[in-house]
Amino acid sequence: MFSFESFLDLPLIWFGVIATALFLYVLLDGFDLGVGILFPFAPSDECRDRMMNSIAPFWDGNETWLVLSGGGLFAAFPLAYSILMPALYMPVILMLLGLIFRGVAFEFRFKAVKSRFVWDYAFHVGSIVATFMQGMILGAFVKGVQVDGRSFAGHPFDWLNAYSFMTGVALLFGYALLGSTWLVMKTESITQHWARKCASYVLGYVGVFMGIVSISMPMMNTGVRDLWFSLPNCFYLLPVPLVTAGLFIRIWHDLHKGLETRPFFMSIAVFLMGYFGLGVSLWPWLVPFAITFRQAAAAGTSQSFLLVGTVITLPVILSYTAYCYYVFRGKASSEGYY
């Protein structure tokens, strides 16, 4: 039975692959969920059409990164998958139902005439529910999961608390930032002007929430506190909050100077910093604070077998995704693609 364990650190590689897939999901679906969150606040129906068209070619490609994260977790870390999913049962299901509503709203909206407003709201509400649940999942995740043996042993409503509520709201603002800066890049005139205002408004909230999460995590968990506030780690990790603060200032200036593209990529960088900070804090837990990614790893042969396919297909997929973004580059129009 073939396996690369003898010369590759398979669990680490898979941890990296899934962490990357999840991050890509957060970024890519993040901006189109963000567009959904801001949707009804746009100044006119024409703006809404433009917003929709700016994301229509991408949304299902974006969502497949979620499937890869879920499927990859099952394949590479079945133990983590089979503990986290029951632990997060309700938020995961609600997130999926939210994604269903907004996903089909894309298709139906273009076809509906009288009932169009229904799908506009389905798109908006679905986006909010999906985002909020993802935020709650994040909150529940960083607070830790009760495990006994090889299964979830906590209360079914462990995920529901003030902290996860806060992270849910935080992610709403986070995705709204991605969405609004995406719109600044992909639209013009009224829509762009409005998106610019949204972005600078939302930016402040994102900063506040990132601050709360950054301060609360070391307060809740001594391991995290020791990691960030001991020497010499403190110096190595100091650039993370500093760069983040710099990015916020940069986005603010860029938005007010009228730059179109950079705010979006700066927002991505903000997310990258947040993600990095979380990753460093939770390392090496895959089910915080009970199971590490090494303990959860599937058999070497299983991880090896799927790795072969991943190494071949992932570059193709990534370049094809890039090609799709290239084909649909430029400003979105209000005309339907259909």
Binding site: G61, L84, V92, K111, T310
Partner: protein, 467 residues
């Protein structure tokens, strides 16, 4: 009362419900994607606008169906963990990579190429657009390959060992992927998907013919569908028979349930109809054909067929469901073959396109493929019970440590969401069918455009986005 809700039963209902819903979309899109690729190829080769017009109409239906397939598929990739975590833990080493391959090779190719296929008609060169359609079609088939491989392994597991903590460890990937039932299940299912699409297309073609509208396109649709009915429907009978005999070797309990056969006997009769009674261990009111069951399964009039009593009660599947689902599936298959035969006769009488009763018949057969696919999955999945992995793990041991009320709430939410969302999807597909293909000839010729006309340009010219 609410504390007594059984999370295992509810999880099974939820999984069955969401999967039954999901299977409609792949069953349709696998066939539709391949057919669209053929249409686009014919259009590029002949330049006959009928093909591009049909493509333009069906690609919109494909978009709606595919969208619903994607969102209901996302759900599936999480439900293994949310509802069957003990199973995910135990079988993860084996099934995880198969499902991972499904995601990698297929889902992604589909989802990424789909953007170009749906929106790129006027943005990329025809060859690239055609390539996108082909990639999407290949992606749907690859998707079926991996998912059926995973399912077949659960039916006829091999190439693994039981290791520490009772976990399953793969020992031979080729054996895992190509488990004994896989080749049969794969061919049977992909053929079923092609037939499903053919009968939908044929039904819509018949509808246009009956109404006397879109005749040029309707004849192409109808003729292509009838070619499938004539040639592929009988082939499916052969594939199904081979699959059945494979099941007889590897999952004899399932076959015994299909046959409604309780006593082991040589020269076993075929129960045409009857009322299997699980408690009394008998099939009541059975209409039998002597020795036929032995003949079909063993190719010997006196061959031995094991009856359900050969296994303990707790190892038997729910016979009634398996028995009747099977008859339902085979019955529809028979009607499909009959449709093909009728089409052939009408073709030689040169009445294929103007026989009213046959148009009604084909319209009535529009959903036939879906019903047969669903019934077939009922047979194979219920027939595997009480096991989730045949002979290795029982369904009752597979579920998550979730509480009954949580599953009850999520099940209710699923039923509600799916009814609203997919009801609306069906409504919009009917609208698209009512509208029919956009006729491009006028625009195309009168403006002297060299390139194929654009989906975008046309629809916005006529009535904007309100397609």
């Amino acid at each position: 009362m609410i504390e007594n809700l059984d999370p295992v039963l509810l999880s099974r209902i939820q999984f069955a419900f969401s999967l039954s819903f999901h299977i409609f979309f792949p069953a349709f899109t696998i066939g539709l994607a391949s057919w669209l690729a053929v249409l686009e190829w014919l259009w590029l080769k002949t330049g006959n606008t009928a093909y591009s017009e049909i493509y333009g109409m069906w690609v919109k239906i494909f978009a709606v169906t595919f969208g619903m397939g994607v969102v209901s598929g996302v759900v599936m990739s999480f439900q293994f963990g949310t509802n069957f975590s003990a199973f995910s833990d135990k079988a993860g080493n084996v099934l995880g990579p198969l499902l991972g391959y499904e995601v990698l090779t297929a889902f992604f190719l589909e989802a990424s190429s789909l953007g170009v296929m749906l929106f790129g008609w006027n943005r990329v060169r025809p060859a690239i657009h055609f390539a996108s359609t082909v990639i999407v079609a290949a992606g749907t088939v690859m998707s079926a390959f991996w998912i059926l491989s995973a399912n077949s392994w659960m039916q006829t597991p091999q190439g693994f060992r039981v290791g520490e903590n009772g976990l399953l460890y793969p020992t031979d990937w080729l054996k895992v992927i190509f488990s004994p039932s896989f080749p049969y299940r794969f061919v049977h299912m992909v053929t079923a998907a092609y037939l499903t699409t053919a009968f939908v297309v044929g039904g819509i073609g018949a509808f246009y013919l009956w109404r006397g509208r879109n005749l040029k396109q309707a004849r192409v649709m109808f003729a292509m569908a009838m070619i499938m009915a004539i040639f592929v429907a009988p082939m499916q009978l052969v594939f199904g028979d081979l699959h059945g005999r494979n099941t007889f070797v590897h999952q004899p309990t399932k076959v015994a349930a299909i046959e409604g056969l309780w006593e082991t006997q040589s020269g076993a009769p075929l129960n045409l109809f009857g009322w299997p009674d699980q408690k009394e261990e008998i099939t009541k009111y059975a209409v039998e054909i002597p020795r036929l069951s032995s003949l079909i399964l063993t190719h010997d009039l006196n061959g031995e067929v094991r009856g359900l009593k050969a296994w303990p009660r707790e190892d038997r599947p729910p016979v009634f469901w398996v028995f009747w689902s099977f008859r339902f599936m085979v019955g529809i298959g028979g009607l499909m073959i009959l449709t093909g035969v009728s089409a052939l006769v009408l073709y030689f009488r040169k009445r294929l396109f103007d026989t009213k009763w046959f148009q009604y018949w084909c319209m009535a057969m529009t959903p036939a493929g879906f019903a047969a696919v669903l019934a077939g999955w009922f047979v194979t999945e219920i027939g595997r019970q009480p096991y989730i992995i045949q002979g290795v793990m029982r369904t009752s041991e597979a579920s998550s440590p979730v509480i009954g009320p949580a599953v009850a709430i999520s099940l209710a939410a699923f039923v509600l969401t799916y009814s609203v969302v997919f009801g609306a999807g069906a409504y919009y597909i009917v609208q698209l069918i009512k509208k029919g293909p956009d006729v491009e000839a006028d625009v195309y010729g009168s403006h002297g455009v060299k390139e194929p006309p654009l989906i975008t340009g046309l629809t916005s010219k006529e009535e904007g986005r309100h397609v």
